[in-house]
Amino acid sequence: MIELQSISKRFGSRKGPVVRALSQLNLSVPRGSLYGLLGPNGAGKTTSLRILATLLAPDSGTVRVAGVDALAFPRRVRRLLGYVAQDVAIDKILTGRELLALQSALHHLPAGVAVERISSLIELLGMADWIDRRSGSYSGGMRRRLDLAAGLLHRPPVLVLDEPTVGLDIESRSAIWQVLRQLRDQGTTVLLSSHYLEEVEALADRLAIIDAGRVIAEGTPTELKSALGGDRVTLRVREFSDAVEAARVEALLQRCPGVREVVINSAQGHSLNLVIEHDGVIPQMRGMLADAGLQVFALAQSRPSLDDVYLQATGRTLMDAELSVAGQRDAKAERKQQMR
């Protein structure tokens, strides 16, 4: 339903450095699926979605929505798409209802139809109590719900959401999740970006993990996790080990059959992270440690998560990736970039 092929996009001005936002990005979203685009801030999620929404032209590559070439026929694609942007721009002085009425007119809905759809969306998204207040007084959750409603007015077969629940209260978040699932169940293709693992895990039928402007892994959550194989184990022999003790344990574990990828996590009191090939490895490990006079202080075992998928592909956790870019991004420059 959505096809992005070999999309590249650079940003840069005469003054600033050139930033490669996307390089040869490929994305294929099947019809009727709820598709997650997972990646840390700055990975290129927003840029991809803005290109899809015809707000931005790629430097190269092709974009198709329901078979329509978005670069050649942007207006046809705009009619097929509902786009819910990340940073919601609303006219503070209008009420939510007036804003929806404006949006309906921009989608050329007949007045009667617009009124009907607006009231059903107000009910669906639980906006009745505040929709006639000026939108300047809305909370983040209210704005996001309003924006979702605006994206649904023309009943688009494809709904694109950029970080729909970032910074939202739990109630708004679950309300939005519920609507997205219903939409998918009724045949709408939903593409959402997120840097929340649990969001993508909870919602998405399929996902792509995006990093540094490229898709680095793609599949259903189950496929991706089982491709990693083996459970994740975190082991401590003492609440806080020193580096020497941790190195000794590491050496010991590396000799244990069925244990892979032993890593010392110095940020967590020199605990050890490792992968085990099957459950039988655990008692074996315990035995080896006991023989060496070490006891197990704590041992946690878990199935591989999407974060492990990300870790495997990029060599760092999603959280670390977030932190590393947190200080580098210039919100003002990005806003400027989006300005026409």
Partner: protein, 287 residues
């Protein structure tokens, strides 16, 4: 909240295309409505737009009330002379601000919201601004004209009123085009406001709004004689004087005499040229 079930399934991919005129009118109407809703809830622009010229009219009128009669060409009081200038200044100031709402929409990202919608023509966005500013400035001008009449500065009758409206409309179109162009060319509202600030008063002083050409040193006279405000002011002044013909000379410029028809022609050309000039810029920013 209790989520209701979705009342719909997505629309079919192919839809028939309604007429372009119907769609463009619908878009333009909705966008214009938005601007008027903003105005109704934040009327300070309207009020300030009337108050400022009103203050000019009252203060300047009083300042020169005792000027010796016969000082001004064609006789009459200074208040009568000033009226036309202040009316044109009102329309000019209002039109010069036309770009501000567009600039704010650019900066706050509301424009992006409009651009995601399948607008039949993105000119609707510009058209809505033109309609809004034109109506707003005409309302402000009418308020000033009514006040001037109450102050005893006269009222143009019949054909005169029509001439006043034509002059104002042409000037508003030209200046609106300029302001909209600036709103897309400049990087932010600070710069736009700076340009408005720097343009506004000098253009007033370097025109025949406050004093006739004959009073000015030669260099200022030249400036005033090429200032678009002058081409709107002089025909309006003629309309206020009463009987006029289109061939009547209203401006004895250093480069030659200009009739009412001549002034109107210049204003038409200016408006057309400015709209054509900003066209490529709008095309670039809106596609």
């Amino acid at each position: 909240m209790t989520p209701a079930s979705l009342p719909f399934s997505p629309m079919p991919v192919e839809m028939p295309e309604p007429s372009a005129f119907a769609e463009i009118s619908q878009e333009t109407l909705a966008l214009t409505r938005r601007l008027f809703l903003q105005l109704a809830r934040r009327p300070s622009t309207l009020v300030a737009g009337v108050l400022q010229p009103l203050i000019w009219l009252v203060l300047f009128g009083a300042l020169f009330a005792n000027a010796p009669s016969g000082l001004l060409p064609g006789g009459g009081s200074y208040g009568r002379f000033l009226g036309a200038g202040v009316i044109v200044f009102t329309a000019f100031s209002a039109a010069l601000n036309a770009g501000l709402p567009v600039m704010f929409d650019r900066e706050f990202g509301f424009l992006n919201r409009l651009l995601v919608a399948p607008l039949r023509s993105r000119s609707s966005i510009v058209l809505a601004s033109v309609i809004y500013i034109t109506s707003l400035s005409l309302v402000q001008c009418m308020a000033i004209m009514a006040t001037a009449a109450l102050l005893g500065y006269g009222w143009p009758g019949g054909a005169g009123l029509l001439l006043v409206l034509v002059c104002l409309l042409l000037l508003v179109f030209a200046v609106t085009a300029l302001s909209l162009g600036l709103a897309f060319a400049l990087p932010g509202h600070i710069e736009l406001i700076a340009v408005i600030f720097v343009t506004n008063l000098p253009l007033l002083f370097a025109s025949t709004a406050l004093a006739p050409l004959a009073f000015m040193p030669a260099w200022l006279g030249w400036l005033a004689a090429v200032n678009p405000l002058t081409f709107a002011i002089e025909p309006i002044r003629a309309a206020y004087r009463g009987d006029f013909t289109l061939n009547q000379v209203v401006l004895q410029a250093p480069y030659g005499d200009l009739s009412i028809a001549g002034c109107l022609t210049i204003l038409v050309v200016l408006a057309v040229v400015l709209f054509l000039a900003i066209r490529p810029l709008l095309d670039r920013k809106l596609t």
